[in-house]
Symmetry: none
Subunit: 399 residues, 2 copies
Amino acid sequence: MEILRTLTQRNDKRIVLFVLDGLGGLPREKGGKTELETADTPNLDALARESECGLHDPLGIGITPGSAPGHLSLFGYNPFDYMIGRGVVAAMGIAFPMKDGDVAVRMNFASKDESGSITDRRAGRIPTDKCAELCELLKDVSIEGVEVFVKPVKDYRAVVVFRGPELSDHVSDTDPQATGVKPLEPKGGDEDAEKTVRVVSEFLRQANEILKDQSPANTVLLRGFAELPYIPSMEDVFKLSPVALAVYPDYKGVSRLVGMDVVEGLSGFDDQGRALKDSWNRHDFFFVHHKYTDSKGEDGDFDGKVAEIERADAFLPTILDLEPDVLIVTGDHSTPAVLKSHSGHPVPFLINAAGIRPDETERFGERDCFRGAWGGVIQGSQLIRLAMCYSDKLAKFGA
Amino acid sequence: MEILRTLTQRNDKRIVLFVLDGLGGLPREKGGKTELETADTPNLDALARESECGLHDPLGIGITPGSAPGHLSLFGYNPFDYMIGRGVVAAMGIAFPMKDGDVAVRMNFASKDESGSITDRRAGRIPTDKCAELCELLKDVSIEGVEVFVKPVKDYRAVVVFRGPELSDHVSDTDPQATGVKPLEPKGGDEDAEKTVRVVSEFLRQANEILKDQSPANTVLLRGFAELPYIPSMEDVFKLSPVALAVYPDYKGVSRLVGMDVVEGLSGFDDQGRALKDSWNRHDFFFVHHKYTDSKGEDGDFDGKVAEIERADAFLPTILDLEPDVLIVTGDHSTPAVLKSHSGHPVPFLINAAGIRPDETERFGERDCFRGAWGGVIQGSQLIRLAMCYSDKLAKFGA
């Protein structure tokens, strides 16, 4: 990365990274087609015919990426060098101004019965308004020597940030990831974490007291204690001026961590298209994120994922009309509907630019991409290098 | 590997790694087919049509692997991080219980003439019984402050283990790798090795005295001085319970080094098939090793190697009948008959599992695999990650 930094050069060419979250899939039945192969995607197919196609591995062969490392890879970073905890992703997602030494943690409002066992890890999926109201109540938590911030995220999800001297993120989750059992006690991973464990335990005691008469959200679960990692910005490393056009908070969060501008208040493709046009003259790297391909995959909804891919295909002309110098279409990982989860399968991509060698890919699909120019599976974090190369933003190395 | 360890998870799915030693080959004549392409392999071809195929590089492009690093790579380790000397492979192969600080070395019984020049580096390939008898005689070697173990391996091959304080494996071979010349004097690679050099010289003096009236084995040659390396077990890193079903000692040796259980007393496919069934409910990783593809390659016997590949093909249904969740068929390196030696050419592989994207490979061969899903040549040590991923034994990385 140090060498890369010496080679990157600014110019007026524009790169668009269009991420269909969880794009890669698997056949529904033996001998069948994947979601992408099934989808009717005339725009992506036409683009594939003029592009270089292939598959990428976000984190290395066989490793299943979480959303944060999957995107970090697409942004050109080695995710193993920059560990991002869930709490930080959540805090960044709502633009909470974390400081060095802060410890952030993702909080779910949840339901428990009289014995203290968890009956619903999402408190009946309470709406965001209710979540905000409960977070307001939790402002009454008071712990000596520590500032506590409780902020709503979306639905039943919130984030807590602890600020004070000598805090540590080596604290274990209290979310048992199951119902019918009690929440776990927070435990410290080392001696340095003992103070934080006491702070967290006290927070939980007061929170449970404040919420005891609420229904259904009468308790909270914490997971992903995390401090802010140091990540050099895309501006610094790649000399790009990046902007994120994402709907969901977590993706805004990861974008902020690499120094992207984030456009707020977008709720779907229409907004994203307008925001893309609006920002076209102020940036040279555009991250456009479509969440629902992943959501449908996680739900095990094969046809729903196909439909979301088709919606993304219909949005493609909005990007093409702006004539980006480089366009990448890909996913941050695979989310096959048959697995109902992220998976470690390679992810199809296409990269289009003026000076390339279009391969013989006839349509955009996993098996078509196998045979493409980059069919041998490249590292996800190399994709941006390719984009930089194809937009003349990478200088020659050596004399 | 530290990160990998945090992601691996135990479950009841079974992985079979079927290694045809030295599988990769080369055409016999210009425009011709390789050994694998020539072989009639209906079972492998049918499996390839339902699998993901490709080529792997055991050690990195162009590097010719020895047997130990080739297998270490297939077991998921970076062989450059874990150097295994020949002496250790030999000692492990006969299940000699080496301790930290022991120095093991491979010993050949050999023949010399009256001038001391080597006339046969293998003493007319004396049988194992004779080898054992001579090793028994060498028990009379006595060196102050050092225990010496001399153990027969197979035919003219034996292993010597020196045990005592401050021994070193930085000692050069005495095997001149040629006839008509005298054995080499052992030399120390550094000051720490001086004591070991004196011990080895004294061992050779006494061994030559004991063997002087024997025929044809009237001397010994040593090569591959080696101490036990530290290698984390597959149980530790991958949370697999592995078992090795191999006929030859060296492959059992490498298997023991990564903590595999080793089934003893197997002499070929019939035994290996029975042992596979017997161990099916006690393990979840099964290493099945076929040696003779390599042996025939080393002999320059193209047709013989083709026949051994066909024998392996005929054995395949025995594995398939057990319905493994993941099956990998590959080699540990290439041994093209035209080269009569190991080579650095990529090695064809196929991986079969339920949740994959079968490519359009019609038959199992080098050039067919070029066009497969993994045709771009992946690192050999990544194969096991793929197997872990396809059997849901690798957790998601990151939030």
